[in-house]
Structure formats: C-alpha cells, structure tokens
Amino acid sequence: MSTRTPLIYTPKILDLFRNPRNLGRMEDATVSSQAGSPACGDVITIYLKIDGEKITDASFESYGCAANIAAASIITEMVRNKTLKEAWSITWEDVTNELGGLPSIKYHCSILAVGGLKRAIRKYFEEVRRERPEWLPENLSKEERQALEEEELIEKIYRKYGVAP
C-alpha cells in the first residue's frame, strides 16, 4: 500500500515458516533473550539450554515476517551442539546462506537472529557464569548494537510524534 519491494523467498524459508524447527518457549532454558521491538514489527526470542561450554538445546519465538520466523528457527538449528564460542562466531551472512539467500531488504532478519543469539550468550556469561571469556568482546558486537538501535529508534519515533506506544 505504500512503497514496496518484491519479497521472494527461498523454498527453505517457506519450509521453515510452515514447519518451524525448535519452536516455542523453553521452560527449563539456561538463558533466554530477546531482540527487536513490536513497534518495529520484529521480535525474536532465543532460548538456550547450556551444558558446560556446549549448547545442548535451543528454541525460539518470533513476531515478524516469514523471513524473521525462518531466520530465528534456522539459527536454533545452527547452534545445537555447538560450543558457546563457536555459536558466537556465527555471522548474519552464515544465517542468510543457510536460508538459501534473502532479499536484501530482509538482511535485518538474519542480523536480528544473530543479535538475539549473542545477547543470550552474553547474558549467560554475565548473569549465570558471572565471568567473561576472552573470546567474548567487552563491547557490543555489531548485531547486538543493531538490535539495540532498532529498539531505541522506535522509542525516538514515538517521542517525536508524541504517540503513546
């Protein structure tokens, strides 16, 4: 209804949208985190079960477009049985590739998924282990920063237009 762009997805994305792997709140998660904002139209929640250095289970919830749901789902597949360090090194390009590609306007879905994952890992070290391994940078990673920016941006817009969110 305004200024659009074609959203062509890969068969993989449609498959994940239809049958999301690892969907749903994990009641016994070691850690969970969220990225995005409802006002922006996308939110990803990541749940991780962690045993030592290893992610033994992962699940997600998503509020967003089909690509958002697929990106969140695929990243939970990608981290399973990976070490936390390995999981940290997953890039948004990796997620995009795993989905078979994304329209460029949808790159932010992979970024948000990685942002959510990194937030969860950081939170785990900050709140559960209360220590920071060497490989975990003190400063926010690019993806965590982008998630934060999105969340703050919408508050700014709300303040600017004087709308109550």
């Binding site: 659009r4 999301p20 904002s37 922006c40 709308v163 969110p165």
Partner: protein, 415 residues
C-alpha cells in the same frame, strides 16, 4: 540468487482460492478479456489519430469509452484525459495544476491519508517552493470541514482529498468539503482521488462541484493500463509528460486501445445493476467483519462502520502478529490479502493511513486489508472465515508477544 520458480513449487497451488487483494490489483473477468481481444489483431489496432481504417476503428473505441466514463460521473461538459493508471492521473492533477498556476499561489492541502500517488507528487513540488499542508483525520479517517476551512488562505492553490480511502474505506463527505473550500475562495482547485469510490458509490461531478477527479480501470475489475483524469472545462493544466499527442491533450503516445476497450466493458459491468453489485459487496463485507470479530480474539476494525464505510472494505489489525506473515500464511491456504505492515515496504514505517487514525505501530504492522467483490460468493467468505482464525492462531503460537503482551515487552518499549 533466489529462483522464483522453485519458491512457487514449494508454495504449491492451494486447492481452493479466494482473491481479496483487488485493492492492489487483481484479475479481470472473462467478459472484459473478451471485449479486449478483437483490438489486439482483428480491428482497431491502428493509431487512433491516423487516417486509415484500423486507426478510425481505434478512435471509435476511445471516443465511446470517454462518453461512457463521462456519463458514469455526470461529466457533460468536462474534458477527460486518459492516462495509464490512477498514479499518472494523480501526478497530472497535482503537478499539472501546480505548474499551471505557479506564479499565483503555492499552498497545496492534502489529507493525511491520501494515497502515496498524491502525497509523493505533492512533496516533489516542495523543492520548487510549494508548500504541502497535510490535514489530519479523526479516528475513522474523516477530514473535519471546519479544520479545513481554517487552513484555507489566499496562498492556497489546491486541495486534494480522496473520495474513498483505499485502506480503511472512509467515505469522505466531498460535497461538504468542496463547499467549504469554494465558499472561502472559488479559485482554489479541488481535486478528488476517486479511484476507490468509482463503482462503489455514486459520483456526480456537477453535484459535487469538483474540478479534477481521478479514476483507474483496474480498480473496477478492468484491465491495467488505463486511468483517467476528469478536468473541469476551462481548467488549465500544464502537461508533465511530453511527446506525440494523439487523441489525449495531456498524455502523449499512442493510446492502449485494447485496455481502453476492456475498461469500457468493465464500466458496463460495474454500472449495470449498480445497486445490486454494491449490496453484494456490502453483504460480504459485513459477513467478513462480523465473522472475524466473532471468531478471532484481540482484533481491531480499522475505519468507520455502516454507511460511511466503502462497501468492499474490510481492514483488521490482528494483535501480536505481524501482517506480512499473515499474508504468507493465508496465501498457503489460498487466501490472498495484503497488509499495512512495514515489512513489505521500502521504508521502516507501516501504513501511514493506519497510523494517521491513531493506531500504534504494532497495531499497524498487524493490519490486513480484505476487499470484497461482486464476484465472490458467500461460500468464498465462509472459506475465508474457516481459515483466518486458525491462521492467526498458528502465528500467535509462534509469537512471543501474546504471552508477553502484559509483561516484559511492554517494559522494553517504555510503558
């Protein structure tokens, strides 16, 4: 890169289909295609301004179609310009009026819920010293005549307020708004975008006192490739497209005669049994609205109700789910709709229309537009109602917002 054909294979063809996206464009009934066919290669395939038989036959199509359009909007003395769509007609109305009067006045007043083919041309004039004033609307999308009158001054060049809103179906009281403007200063041009009004409500340019009015073929089950601008006799526009004029004084190049023939037939179909057609749309509309409100929790109806709402418009915000994923989920079920979500747009923001009536961003993201049509059957709507609740339910099981709507997330966005 992504191969569309592979995606289409994965999607599959649903066994049952209901198309409800005629707002954005849609299919053309067989009678209309039938009316176009001869003009591809049997007759009238010539240039309508050239003196040979196929050219004269082409001219006949254009002449008779223009007569028919004029009759349908009671435009006896007006002059009509055929363009390729509503967008081009709107551009001509806004930019053509502004440039024709540039020396005199520079203020253009439009409503906050105009189609972007009004907003963007108006904004494009700002760098040439024009000022665009957007008049806000109320919670149902109505422009307040009193507020409009306070904005009118002797700098005001034109006012453009649509007759029916394309997303939320608000039927403006154009007659009252025209009077408000003309009472203050009858030299101000009044344009109305009637693209979504045509074939749905009565339009009488004489009674309304309108100067410029936009129509589009594909919005009344006609083919794409034809739009029209009614221009009141004597009103001067400046052309914005330049080239070889044929029969159209303001739009160059050869006319798309097969499309014009199709539009002509679509007008017949829309205006024969006009009342019945409209009643049908209304009946299906109300069936859809009531069904959804009954079956799906946490939904909002966007736009007015009853007689002030376009007979074919249903717009709902489904809370805690995002619109683009709804269109995909419904597509898999053979139900084709569109959304006001930001997700399908090039900009961050969701529908400016839904925001303008005071909805929150997350409400706008979850908005879905269904358009009813006289070609749909009650069983089609039954089918839609059998699928929508399950579709929304499935997406809500994926969404973290349902559970959290009264918890964590509220905090995150600062309430």
């Amino acid at each position: 890169m992504v191969k569309v054909s592979e995606f289409l294979k994965e999607h599959g063809k649903p066994p049952r289909e209901v198309y409800l996206d005629h707002e954005n464009c849609g299919w053309v009934p067989p009678e209309v295609v039938e009316a176009m066919l001869p003009y591809f290669n049997k007759k009238g395939y010539g240039h309508p301004s050239i003196t040979n038989l196929p050219g004269w036959e082409a001219y006949e199509v254009i002449e008779s179609t223009i007569e028919k359009i004029n009759k349908s909007i009671n435009a006896r003395d007006g002059e009509l310009v055929l363009t390729h769509n509503g967008t081009e007609a709107n551009n001509l109305a806004i930019i053509g009026s502004a440039l024709a009067r540039s020396k005199e006045r520079n203020k253009i007043i439009i409503s906050a819920i105009e189609h972007v083919s009004i907003i963007f041309p108006a904004r494009s004039l700002e760098e040439n010293g024009y000022r665009v004033v957007m008049i806000p609307v109320d919670k149902e999308g109505f422009v307040d005549p009193y507020m409009l009158s306070t904005l009118i001054d002797n700098e005001t060049l034109m006012v453009s307020i649509q007759m029916v809103n394309h997303e939320i179906g608000t039927i403006q009281n154009i007659k009252e708004l025209v009077e408000t403007v003309k009472d203050k200063d009858d030299r101000i041009i009044f344009h109305t975008d009637a693209v979504d009004a045509y074939g749905r409500i009565n339009i009488d340019v004489e009674e309304l006192g309108i100067d410029l009015l936009t129509l589009s073929s594909h919005k009344i089950h006609g083919p794409r490739g034809v739009g029209a601008l009614y221009v009141r006799e004597g009103l001067k526009l400046k052309p914005i497209m330049h080239g070889a004029l044929s029969t159209q004084k303001m739009w160059p190049s050869v006319e798309n005669v097969p499309a014009i023939a199709g539009f002509s037939r679509a007008i017949d179909l829309a205006f024969t049994n006009f009342e019945d057609n409209v009643e049908k749309m209304k009946m299906l509309r109300d069936m859809l609205i009531e069904g959804i409100l009954e079956e799906v929790p946490e939904v909002l109806l966007n736009g007015p109700t009853g007689e002030k709402r376009a007979p074919d418009n249903v717009n709902m915000s489904f809370l805690h789910v995002e619109g683009e994923s709804i269109t995909v989920e419904l597509s898999l079920r053979g139900i084709y709709v569109s959304s006001g979500s930001a997700c399908t747009s090039r900009v961050l923001e969701p529908s400016h229309v839904i925001l303008a009536i005071g909805r929150k961003y997350e409400e706008a993201h979850g908005s879905i537009l269904f358009k009813t049509s006289r070609y749909q059957k009650v069983e089609d709507i039954d089918y839609v109602l059998s699928q929508v609740p399950a579709a929304i339910e499935r997406l809500r099981t994926i969404s973290p917002l349902v559970r959290e709507s009264r918890g964590i997330l509220k905090k995150m966005v600062g309430t």
